[in-house]
């Protein structure tokens, strides 16, 4: 098998054994990107020189006898919403075109410290607002399973890079499902850690109370290893949790033995039927049966407020975004339009934002401005925050009965490009099942569980706050019990 077909664990093993150099591994992935990315468009920027230099540094450290981390020399793709020092960071927006941050995000810094080799920056919906990557200002990413279909979003580029074998690992961010839903529709693994378990420092803010960086990979163990590298307390993020990283790698290895005896799994009743495609539900049912065969006890659990998660989220997230995106004012970085000496600051600001933001970002800013305005605040933003409390209580009550919850990751398989852009609310429905964990703050993972109409389906496993290890155990067990999905050749 070629180097690009190998998992991160396999690549790390080969590099550590001296059978292949980190530079050779990086070059193989750069060659693959050069060969296929014109069709996939997973990347917005490929950092060839940076990647080869980082790989050479790993090889030099190894030659000098240094002890290196378990993923040293393994390539990784990074979603373009995380600041990378000196490397363009656009958030797939025209307003940040060409911006090169003067610093690294903590997640990026940790990748570098662990010897991972950053290949480049991946495509996404503008400012992570979307479920298909069609809202990128630089054009969509195409799902390698079927190039006429979406790869999910907002982190469609990261997910597509994995399934196109352009990268063995990728970083995403999950605010309402932007890691898990792309994972589901591309047949890859995507994990949202506990909110605060991974640092937001250097992550361009969309919805600060929800944004969570996390790992994307082709296998559960690879995801857990990447999780281990990027997670942990960061004094530069005031919402970072000062607690040890849950034992995710150990849990993934334990789960891979296929033994779930004694584990109680709750099937969310509210998400077991309504709104999902029959093929998705059938695949999820089979996955649940597989978990039972591995020894798990499965019971149905009711979370009555989960059906209000979507409307609550689409008030809370736009409200926070309308405030966060006020920083794009054409003063300190990014685009400035209309500054010809005749216009005052406010007019230049309005022209800059009009030219720099795409339609979905504008819609959300306007909704957020509305939901926060006096007279509407209590009925919209305030009420949504109360619903958030009730959703958290649903989770707390459910976790008194069961260890984890399961549901489909997303109601439908990858849909055709262009089929949902004219009706923005239809796009929002892609996040129906992923949003509750964001509002609650607990970890959740999407793991491939089968095919429907020839396209991948993901099972979502949700765990209590700071019990990230539990979801890895269940995901790894399922992975061991269902046939691996093999994407078509590009």
């Amino acid at each position: 098998m070629s180097l690009t077909g190998k998992t991160a664990v396999e690549l790390a093993g080969l590099i550590a054994a001296g059978e292949v150099s980190a530079v050779e591994v990086a070059q193989a992935h750069l060659d693959r990107i050069a060969a296929v990315d014109q069709r996939v468009h997973a990347f917005l920027h490929v950092d060839t020189d940076g990647a080869l230099a980082a790989a050479a540094a790993v090889d030099a450290r190894r030659a000098a006898g240094e002890e290196l981390g378990p993923l040293a020399g393994v390539p990784v793709a990074v979603k373009d919403v995380l600041a990378t020092k000196g490397v363009p960071t656009t958030c797939a927006s025209k307003i940040l075109e060409g911006w090169r941050p003067p610093y690294d995000a903590t997640v990026v810094q940790r990748l570098r410290d662990a010897g991972l080799v950053i290949l480049g920056k991946t495509n996404m919906d503008e400012f992570a607002m979307g479920s298909s990557t069609e809202y990128s200002a630089y054009g969509p990413t195409y799902n390698p399973w079927d190039l006429t279909r979406i790869p999910g979003g907002s982190g469609g580029g990261s997910a597509a890079s994995l399934v196109a074998y352009e990268a063995p690992l990728a970083i995403g961010t999950d605010t309402g499902g932007s890691i898990r839903q792309p994972g589901a529709v591309t047949g890859t693994v995507g994990a949202k850690p506990t909110y605060g378990g991974t640092s937001r420092y250097g992550l361009v803010a969309f919805s600060s109370s929800l944004d969570t960086p996390g790992p994307c990979a082709r296998t559960v163990l690879d995801a857990a290893l990447l999780h281990q590298v990027i997670a942990g307390h960061d004094p530069r993020d005031s919402t970072s949790i000062p607690a040890p990283v849950p034992p995710v790698v150990q849990a993934a290895r334990q789960g891979a033995t296929g033994d779930l005896a004694g584990l109680r799994i709750g099937l969310v009743r509210e998400f077991a039927g309504e709104g999902a495609e029959p093929g998705v539900l059938a695949s999820v049912r089979e996955a649940v049966e597989a978990l039972v065969k591995l020894g798990a006890e499965v019971v149905e659990v009711s979370c009555p407020h989960f059906t209000y998660a979507l409307p609550a989220y689409y008030l809370i997230a736009p409200s926070e975004c309308s405030s966060n995106l006020a920083r794009f004012d054409g003063v300190r970085y990014g685009l400035r339009v209309g500054d010809d000496g005749s216009r005052a600051l406010e007019e230049v600001m309005s022209l800059t934002r009009e030219a720099g933001f795409g339609p979905e970002v504008k819609r959300r800013i306007i909704i957020g401005t509305y939901a926060l305005s006096s007279g509407y605040y209590d009925a919209y933003y305030g009420q949504a925050q109360k619903v958030r409390t009730l959703i958290t209580r649903d989770f707390t009550a459910a976790f008194e009965q069961v260890d984890v919850l399961v549901a489909p990751t997303t109601p439908f398989v990858a849909f055709p490009i262009g089929s949902r852009t004219s009706d923005p609310y239809q796009m929002y429905l892609a996040d129906l099942y992923t949003i509750p964990s964001n509002l609650y703050g607990g970890p959740a993972i999407s793991v491939p569980c089968g095919l429907s109409e020839g396209l991948p389906v993901g099972l979502q496993v949700m765990a209590p706050t700071l019990a990230d290890d539990r979801m890895y155990r269940v995901a790894a067990a399922l992975e061991s019990a269902v046939p691996a999905l093999t994407p078509p050749d590009l």
């Binding site: 970085y333 005052a344 600051l345």
Partner: protein, 99 residues
């Protein structure tokens, strides 16, 4: 009944410093109305006595040690500025010219 009118959308866009075009206003008004009617469903939940959650991590007053650490230098801070002058961000005028 519409949840939001074209005039309200224009007003909100102005508040949010978005110089939206007439054509965008036409399009957004209908789309935002659909979205707002859908999200207004949160009002169906009886939640009068429920405390709001702003954040899933209940942390307050997170302070770091009061020690001097390196920070971004002036040159780096200005490196992405659309316009800079004498080590500062240059901005268009803020006040109207005096008559």
């Amino acid at each position: 009944m519409a949840a939001i009118s074209r005039t309200e959308v224009a007003h909100l866009a102005r508040l949010a410093r978005l110089a939206v075009s007439e054509e965008e206003l036409d399009r957004f008004a209908g789309q935002l109305d659909v979205i707002l009617q859908a999200v207004a469903r949160v009002g169906e939940v009886a939640a009068a006595d429920i405390p709001p959650t702003s954040h899933s991590v209940p942390l307050t007053n997170v302070l770091r040690e009061d020690v001097v650490i390196p920070c971004l230098g002036q040159e780096d801070a200005l490196s992405g500025a659309p316009d800079a002058q004498e080590g500062r961000f240059r901005v268009p005028r803020i006040l109207e010219e005096e008559s």
